[in-house]
Amino acid sequence: MSNQTLNVFMPIAIMMLLAALLFGGALLAAHLLSPKKPGGDKDLPYECGEVPEGSAWSMFNVRFYVVGLIFIIFDVESVLMFPVAAIFKKMNALGNGTYILIIFLSFISVLLEGIAYCWKKGDLDWVKSYKRTTKIK
């Protein structure tokens, strides 16, 4: 197991290369074969047949950001948990099961606090979070 070289990462690099080749090849084939008849209104964005009204790049709802925010915190916590999870079985076999279980559960309990907070405050609701109001005196 320990006697490896960096060649183990070679397939990843080759796959990246092949993805680029597949993409480029498909685009090239389409470029060679497809008809090109510019003109008309066909390069307008589709808006149910009407002439598009303004740019679509306007501001968006903050809800999307709140979802992304909760996601990234959970993502990072799960990333940190992975190495511990990987040695969980080994530690248990060595007789340190309770020790690592306590570490693991205390980490998860903080995660649970986070989700409970967001749930309580309505950040997990898609619609309701918008109706809530805060009174500022």
Binding site: A13, V76, P83, A85, I103, G114, Y117
Partner: protein, 196 residues
Amino acid sequence: MFANILFSVSSLLVISSCILMMWTKNLMHSCVYLLGVLIGVAGLYLTLGADFVAATQIMVYVGGVVILMLFAVMLTGGKDYQSQTQKILNLFPSMGNKYTFMWGVGVAFVFGCTLIYFFRNLFSVIKVIESDDSYTPTIERLGELLVTDHLVAFEISSVLLLGALVGAAIIARPRKERPAFIDDIVDDHHHDEEHH
């Protein structure tokens, strides 16, 4: 051999994306170039044999931070602010006006020189280990380190993340522009409901 190729490609990706990121005016494109930088840095981690750190880099940055950045750029309109009076610096749109550019270059120069001055002995003091292409999987060792030597940091980082979650959720939570006005509406609404 493969390590050299991977290193060259990754560092080329990093450097070119960095330069493009400075260069471009469009913030959305900046975020996408940041994606290139991050993937390139992940490739550099792979050449160093840090498989778990590389995967973490991709998972957290590409899957999380970049998407968050893109959301934020969308939510704030994605405008980049420039002063319109410059002449030559119009060629370098992201450089701001010439004063900010000069300040940037000057500060970077002074900072770099200071760093090099202070750490000039570092290269000779540190005994560099000449290593070959060998690679040892890191994840089990990392797990052991996290539950032994770095246990406190591991547990406290969860508290840090909880704090970040709560704080950011409080700050970013959707609320209306004029709270008093909304309270009126809500009060009216309750009033109506009581009538019916």
